[in-house]
């Protein structure tokens, strides 16, 4: 079964970058950083109806040491920001960040003394997801955009 029946006894040649990126983009291990209602939509994405497993990203890891995609879902307070930075630093390279929802991307309606006005002030963000909270389809689109981004990366850029 599978590709062997088409190829027979042959081999395929490719570039090492293409091969590594192909493996990376189809086995993203997300780290959920859910602090508010966006995390509920994030859970819906992982559930059977929207099923992020179709994109190879169903292995949610609650340890940053074992994950390579951080999904920041919800508002981040000033006291939470050092925690977020610490978790980001604990993730091994290569790593990507999705800023999910209006609050994580820009502070949303919470333009107050206690809320960070966009996590990209303090950590690098790859894809922003608009919405309050975003539909599950929107987050799936963001994961696909991350996959497209991974396709173009060169493995030598990471130490």
């Amino acid at each position: 079964m599978g590709i062997e029946s088409k190829l027979g006894d042959n081999i395929l040649t490719t570039r090492i970058d293409s091969f590594i990126n192909w493996a990376r983009k189809n086995s993203l291990w997300p780290m959920p950083f859910g602090t508010a209602c966006c995390a509920i939509e994030l859970m819906a994405v992982l559930g059977p109806k929207y099923d992020l497993a179709r994109f190879g990203a169903e292995a949610i890891r609650f340890s940053p040491r074992q994950s390579d995609l951080m999904i920041v879902a919800g508002r981040v307070s000033i006291k939470m920001m050092p925690v977020l930075q610490k978790i980001y630093r604990q993730m091994p390279e290569p790593k990507w960040v999705i800023s999910m929802g209006a609050c994580a991307s820009s502070g949303g309606v919470f333009d107050t003394y206690s809320t960070i006005q966009g996590i990209d002030n303090f950590i690098p963000v790859d894809v922003y997801v608009p919405g309050c909270p975003p539909r599950p389809e929107t987050l799936i689109d963001a994961v696909m955009k991350i996959q497209k981004k991974i396709e173009k990366e060169r493995s030598a850029q990471y130490r």
Binding site: Q85, Y88, T112, I116
Partner: protein, 170 residues
């Protein structure tokens, strides 16, 4: 169970000159007092056998800016008697130029964190408190967010964190 009238009468008899105002509105007894008697008053309310207010339900602050209180701030104590099933609210008024009042942690240990929250949000200091620190805002925060003259939006308290960019992250 003592009626609201009986409760307020007892307080007026014992602390007459320190009581600023008593009210019995919508079946809820409330008494406003000067801040210097607050520990004595609450101790009396707790230990008098007919009153026996043994449960401090809540302790919170109020900013009376432009609302016509006796002073700018008040600390409000919500008391409940598990024994007699009756309640009373005690308001102690605190002036703006000297925002401090005695702590009641000696009477109820539960007052500890509540007083820290009032300190954090209104800047009212509590004398003899065992651990007078901010409880919700960061330790180096400047200002008291629940004061009515605190800006509603756009106060950027974000300068003291480092910024992680892609180069330093690798």
């Amino acid at each position: 169970m003592a009626t609201n009238e009986e409760i307020l009468k007892k307080i007026r008899e014992k602390f007459g000159d320190a009581v600023l105002e008593t009210s019995d509105a919508l079946g809820e007894a409330a008494v406003s007092v000067r801040r210097d008697v607050i520990v004595d008053l609450l101790k009396f309310l707790r230990e008098d056998p007919d009153l026996a207010f043994d449960f401090l339900m809540d302790l919170c602050g109020v900013d009376y800016l432009e609302m016509g209180g006796f002073e700018r701030f008040a600390v409000v104590y919500h008391l409940y008697s598990l024994k007699h099933n009756h309640r009373v609210r005690v308001k102690a008024f605190v002036p703006e130029n000297d925002p401090r009042i005695d702590s009641v942690t000696e009477l109820w240990a539960a007052a500890n964190w509540a007083e820290r929250e009032v300190y954090d949000m209104y800047g009212i200091e509590f004398n003899n408190h065992p651990d007078m620190r901010r409880i919700l805002c960061p330790d180096d925060f400047v200002g008291n967010p629940l004061r009515k003259d605190f800006p509603l939006q756009g106060i950027g308290y974000r300068e003291s964190f480092e910024k992680i960019d892609r180069e330093s992250a690798q």
